[in-house]
């Protein structure tokens, strides 16, 4: 369903509020069909917000966006899809580990996607976000 919408109705994402509404629909669906997913999202949000200098915002296409120093660490949609931007080299290594995949739209960029399917995935999602966070932190130090 999510993939179908992104592929076929993705052009509507620039309509104000519509992506947020779509994310609201996903949240509503999972609240009734898989409530533990929302618990996992809360757990990730709680963990990331303890890291120094991070802030939480609503992602422009729906979901929660984690920032460090106004730069995006990653964002997670309400269906448990975590999107993170790394450089292409790191992305290649992570894909080789076999748990992440290309971003559904930006295939050739450093963006990668990871689906939260079970509780163990929460640990891996936090690990990915931490990697991105540390990288952003290092970038800021080097500037």
């Amino acid at each position: 369903m999510f993939k179908f919408v992104v592929k076929n109705l993705g052009f509507l994402k620039s309509v104000p509020v519509l992506p947020l509404f779509f994310d609201g629909l996903l949240r509503l669906q999972y609240f009734f069909t898989k409530p533990q997913l929302l618990t996992w999202l809360d757990e990730i949000e709680a963990e990331v917000s303890t890291w120094d200098g991070t802030t939480l915002a609503t992602h422009k296409y729906g979901g929660s966006q984690f920032n460090f120093n106004d730069k995006e660490i990653g964002h997670i949609h309400s269906n448990g899809l975590l999107d993170i931007l790394f450089n292409v080299e790191i992305k290649r290594k992570l894909i080789a580990e076999g748990r992440v995949c290309d971003h559904q739209v930006f295939l050739k960029s450093g963006w990668l996607s990871f689906y939260l399917k079970c509780e163990d995935d929460v640990v891996y999602a936090k690990k990915l976000l931490l990697m991105s966070y540390l990288q952003k932190k290092q970038d800021v130090k080097q500037q």
Binding site: D23, L28, E45, A57, T58, S64
Partner: protein
């Protein structure tokens, strides 16, 4: 946090968001008393603002996303219940509207959560102003929408035989398949006619006793039956939000002993946004068609 204060803040979120919504709907109804139209903003902008208002009262409670989702669902349930009590909306109508209300209240709650977290007054005022501007512009706009739904069934009988069951047909005994008919939405059961000529009266009778009074405007035997609907029930269910304007059955003899029966209906919608309600209207009209046309097919083929 003190448990009483927690409950009090939650209640304030529910109370003030619903108070705002029903005050605004009341004002809109007064302004648009004659039209009977329910505008896009009442199903989109108001629920978004309800979500934003509720999170204003919940902002000190440190609620997690899942909790906000659950409370927003509860808030939507209150709004839906109050619509039943104060606006006289029917149960099926509320079933149809509930996904829209639920999702937009959740959307508003998460927009609100971000707004109050950032605490940027300029941004917050801009968001509220924008939402109100959209609401006012929508309220002052003309809302008129008509559509036509067409369905086709091939019947294994000659046009002469099919025509006998098109103008009037005896009671449909078959069990309903469409889920909205199963949960109580009226479905067509029979059609009677005063005579077989242009200008004759026709009645389409629904399962709960509703009668659509029709007048035959085109009567071409074995080819075309077109009728205008001049009186229809207005009840709290979806039928109060849609007018069926005209109906038509067209028959085409396929020359091989079969007949193609086409059913057309024209309707006017009084509820917006169209991208949501027209999907329902089309689906319901289509299922009314199919129930009648399948019945005609069964009667024609059983001879």
């Amino acid at each position: 946090m003190d448990n009483n204060k927690y409950k009090f803040d939650l209640s304030k979120g529910f109370f003030f968001s619903n108070l705002f919504a029903f005050t605004l709907i009341g004002i809109t109804k007064l302004v648009n008393a004659q039209s009977g139209v329910i505008i896009f903003s009442e199903f989109v902008i108001i629920p978004i603002i309800m979500g934003i208002i509720s999170t204003w009262y919940w902002k000190d409670l440190n609620l997690k996303g899942k909790k906000v989702t659950g409370l927003s669902c509860l808030n939507a349930a209150f709004a839906i219940f109050l619509s039943f009590v104060f606006l006289g909306e029917g149960v099926i109508c509320l079933i149809i509207v509930s996904p829209l209300i639920l999702a937009f209240i959740i959307t508003g709650a998460f927009i609100g959560r971000s707004m109050w977290e950032k605490n940027n007054s300029n941004l917050n005022v801009s968001i509220f102003s924008l939402l109100f501007m959209v609401f006012i512009a929508d309220s002052l706009s003309q809302h008129h929408y008509e559509n036509m739904v067409s369905d086709v069934v091939v019947i294994n009988a000659p046009a002469k035989e099919v025509w006998k069951h098109v103008v009037a047909f005896k009671k449909i005994e078959e069990e309903n398949k469409f889920w909205l008919f199963k949960v109580g939405m009226p479905s067509p059961v029979a059609a009677t006619v005063d005579g077989y000529y242009e200008g004759a009266g026709r009645k389409c009778i629904f399962s709960n006793g509703y009668v659509f009074d029709e007048k035959i405007v085109v009567y071409k035997a074995e080819k075309d039956l077109t009728f205008d609907i001049f009186r229809q029930p207005r009840d709290p269910e979806i039928m109060g939000h849609i007018d069926i304007l005209k109906g038509q059955f067209q028959l085409q003899d396929n020359g091989d002993g079969t007949t193609t029966l086409t059913g057309n209906s024209w309707y006017r919608l009084y509820v917006f946004p169209l991208w949501y309600y027209d999907v329902w209207a089309e689906s319901i009209t289509r299922n009314v068609h199919l129930r009648v046309m399948e019945h005609i097919k069964q009667l024609s083929e059983s001879k």
